[in-house]
């Protein structure tokens, strides 16, 4: 009995509630891609410096997640997928998320600058700014191309990892950026098709709402075709090799097939099997990115033994 009234008045969050502000699942992708960017770079980094760098990138990503949740609390409350997030569920106060987000952003950028170099820190600062301000505050609610441009924020981590090691930007790091950047639209729009009604209720101009699901299917196919040359091009740079090429060919055929199925269908077919093809394409997209970066990691790991690379 008393529990009910206390739940409403306490407003005291546990450690786990603050951690949930950092979007741990997005963070895991950021950590993985940043680590790959760092490891495949031709300049060796001291393991502890690498650890600190990855920690900074993870904290920076988490901080931008907290800023995003602070700004988007109003629409998160409406959407089923996000209603249980710490702010809409009342576990964390909006001001706490803002304070935590701003403090940890500054902390992660400054520590990365001290531990590694200013280019890496600058890229991290830009990524946080891009995600919190350009994407969350501006694009997300104003254009159906929101996730295309916003995808850049998720694409920066391997570039930061590369900058940590080399202190520079190169063709390899730009291609790793492009791989995630081009992958984001088919990945996210596949999701948007099967959680469609939610974005509509919250007034987010997702492509499915503004132009319909037919146009979204065409866009998925279009971006998928544009993604293929980017993924294959990495094979022929200094970080690629036969293992990566073989993996990329297989994964691109797999993802192309999944996207082709999504593109071919009409709404009646999708409703009939409860968006099975769209859900499958979303799942394939997760493997697609993870395995591409795993292949790059394998190339780098095998290089000292004479394997890996051309």
């Amino acid at each position: 009995m008393t529990d009910v009234s206390l739940e409403q008045t306490s407003h005291e969050a546990g450690m786990g509630d603050y951690f949930a502000l950092f979007k741990p699942r997005v963070m895991s992708l950021v950590v993985f891609t940043a680590l790959v960017g760092l490891v495949v770079a031709p300049v060796p980094v001291h393991p502890f410096i690498a650890f600190v760098a990855i920690l900074c990138i993870a904290v920076g990503a988490g901080a931008s997640g907290a800023l995003n949740m602070w700004w988007d609390a109003d629409i998160d409350r409406i959407m089923r997928r996000t209603a249980k997030r710490p702010i809409p569920s009342g576990k964390v106060q909006p001001g706490e998320a803002l304070g935590l987000g701003l403090t940890l952003s500054a902390f992660s950028v400054i520590l990365l600058a001290l531990a590694t170099n200013f280019l890496a820190a600058g890229l991290l600062a830009f990524t946080i700014f891009f995600y919190a301000v350009i994407y969350s505050m501006w694009l997300k609610r104003s254009t159906p191309q929101n996730i295309v441009i916003g995808g850049a924020a998720g694409a920066f981590p391997p570039m930061i990892g590369w900058a940590v090691a080399t202190g520079g930007i190169s063709l390899e790091s730009i291609l790793m950026f492009a791989l995630i950047f081009m992958w984001t639209p088919p990945h996210f729009w596949a999701l948007a098709i099967f959680v469609k009604s939610d974005y509509g209720n919250a007034g987010v101009p997702m492509l499915t709402e503004t132009h319909g699901r037919r146009v979204t299917r065409n866009h998925i196919m279009g971006y998928m075709i544009a993604l293929v040359p980017v993924a294959l091009a990495i094979s022929f740079t200094s970080i690629g090799g036969p293992i990566y090429l073989a993996t990329a060919v297989a994964l691109n055929l797999w993802f192309l097939r999944a996207c082709f199925r999504v593109w071919r269908r009409d709404e009646a077919q999708a409703e009939a099997d409860n968006f099975a093809a769209e859900k499958a394409a979303f799942k394939v997209s997760l493997y697609y990115l993870f395995l591409h970066f795993s292949a790059l990691l394998a190339e780098a790991a095998l290089r000292p033994w004479g394997f890996g690379g051309w």
Partner: protein
């Protein structure tokens, strides 16, 4: 219904305090280890002993040695 001194709220607060303690200790360890690694990476001691504004005889190159300042 009995009145519990230890409410779930106290446990949550304790968890938060211990979590913060852990984070602060981890931060201290992080800065310390980072300092050790950074200093070790320099290799040559003269690179980091020049900042205290005191001439250290051990680090002043001998005359005739490479890098020595020839006095007029």
């Amino acid at each position: 219904m009995s009145i519990k001194v230890e409410h779930e709220l106290h446990q949550r607060r304790k968890g938060r305090n211990m979590g913060l303690l852990g984070l602060l200790l981890a931060f201290v360890a992080l800065v310390f280890l980072l300092t050790v690694v950074k200093v070790q990476e320099l290799g040559d001691a003269s690179k980091f002993q020049g900042y205290d504004h005191v001439v250290q005889p051990a680090l002043v190159p001998l005359e005739g040695e490479e890098g020595a300042v020839v006095s007029q």
